[in-house]
Symmetry: C2
Subunit: 324 residues, 2 copies
């Protein structure tokens, strides 16, 4: 254990205590567990084992949309509405834009402005990616910490950027896509991809001009796809999040989708999808880490040298290093 | 061999002929080889083996910059300048923005407008990513096709989006970063990351207001980093690409950097870096493909189920599926 990891709790009783405290929704313990899974600590394995039996209880809602649609405001309003029902909320903000900096995101504003003293709300921002692309294992593991800690609902938000949306959707039970008038030609730009991942649409800023056009575009594009009898008919909820308008309805739509998942057995499918995404992210991180360690004359170095010289081809090199 | 692969050339003499024709810069053969490496064809291995001895000759220049800085215009002007020197050029345009669509990119415009009948210029656009992020192996392999075909210079362009820049830089001998006034607060936005990858800066639209400010910002940020005696001092070239201004100087700066790489032995380091990125992309694609095949009750399915149920943790699952 390094000194930075030992800081804040004594070894010995450490991980078990930390998990117990996190399950009492002590924000310091939750934050420390997330830091442990983020930092690839040697305690990671112990943390993972301790969390496993407690995971899988939270209702996980992924929230995405282009910049300017009002994600931050909507999440803040949803958080308030969920709290008013007596349920607890964890919010995870994922920044897919840059591998360079972590960068505080939207979610932090919520923490600062409103729920700072409410133990029933926990907010954390994360950078999403490893050095060479793909969802960093830190994101699903941070979700796992919030889930296992016992927050009733976990909101994961990400900026609408193709790939990040898909990745977050793979972790969520319900994916909420927010559109708004004036935030670019959303429906056009989003194309097929966003329709496929959305379980619920929110058309925010419903009081603004152009809102009807967004609704029309959306229903036209949705109309192309017939809905089988046993499928979920993706609802569209109009909101004015800044004034709280439509938020109760939006929450009801998300809850309705979750109930549908439970009743049809689809929840098990989504949970398996999440588990797969978790394990995949860990494996991809491992592969990247192995390649990143190419600084000394290792086996990999020799293989890279051979590929660079043209004496072997990269597929044979891949076979050699990672047999199929 | 599937019917779509056999279309266009007879089996038997196939791959060897195709590579021979590509090395005669026959655009049809080059295009078909790129399609083969893009499509994960069963002929891929044979193609890789056939290309290996011919790779490593091209001078590879990565070109990046935010939308609106004039990448397309600069590449078009550079292509013209390189051709005027009698050298041949391959251009690879990589679109990192979306996993949904391939989408024709900037480079295609060049092909259409100018060099359509010039065998010394080949232009191709590629989508950059696999379904779950990271550089698709298709990008380095398409580069390999252009390199092995014998184009003297290969230009790889990508839109400046954090991660994609890093990935393209890992393939290039020289990375050219284009800035311009009025294209957002480029230098600020770019921060440390872009300074680290740039071997040459172009400040385009040098005739516009605001150009001096970009230069000043750039030299201020660059000024923070002292340059050791044996290091490359990143040059800044002012261009007005639309009128061809500064393009000869920009090309000279890129050539100068390549000469420096050769003379210092740094070229071998960069080529090893590229080889590593190539092999890594192949391995990551394989891992993703294996996870994507999770549709039947396989071993992976059972493990995902166990993780979803909480009877195992995701790190133990990763160990089981992909031992460290």
């Amino acid at each position: 254990m390094t000194s930075s990891e030992s800081r804040g709790f004594r070894s010995g009783a450490t991980v078990a205590n930390l998990v117990a405290n996190a399950r009492g929704l002590q924000p310091g313990a939750v934050a420390r567990l997330i830091s442990l899974v983020e930092s690839d600590s040697p305690l990671l394995r112990e943390v993972a084992v301790a969390l496993a039996p407690h995971a899988g209880q939270a209702q996980v809602v992924g929230i995405t949309g282009s910049p300017g649609v009002g994600k931050s405001t909507t999440i803040s309003a949803l958080t308030r509405a969920i709290r008013e029902q007596g349920r607890t909320v964890g919010v995870l903000s994922v920044d897919p834009s840059s591998p360079y900096t972590g960068g505080a995101l939207l979610g932090d504003r919520i923490r600062m402005l409103e729920h700072a003293t409410d133990k029933g709300v926990f907010v954390r921002s994360l950078a999403s990616r490893g050095r060479l692309g793909g969802l960093s294992a830190a994101v699903p593991q941070a979700l796992r910490v919030l889930d296992a800690s016992g927050y009733d609902v976990v909101l994961i938000e990400t900026v609408g950027a193709g790939q990040a949306e898909l990745e977050i959707a793979s972790l969520a039970d319900t994916t909420l896509v927010i559109l708004a008038p004036g935030a670019g030609d959303d429906v056009q730009a989003a194309k097929a991809g966003i329709l496929e991942i959305a379980d619920v649409f929110a058309v925010n800023k419903a009081d603004r001009e152009g809102s009807a056009a967004v609704l029309r575009d959306l229903s036209r594009v949705q109309g192309y796809k017939p809905i089988p009898d046993d499928a979920w008919a993706v609802p569209v909820v109009q909101t004015v999040a800044a004034a709280g308008g439509g938020i109760v309805e939006l929450l009801a739509a998300a809850d309705g989708h979750f109930a549908w998942l439970r009743s049809t057995g689809s929840l098990a499918v989504r949970r398996r999808r999440r588990a797969t995404a978790e394990v995949e992210a860990i494996v991809l991180d491992r592969v990247r880490a192995r390649f990143a360690s190419l600084t000394a004359p290792t086996a990999l170095y020799a293989v890279a040298e051979a590929v660079a010289r043209g004496t072997t081809d990269p597929y044979s090199a891949a076979d050699q290093l990672f047999p199929v």
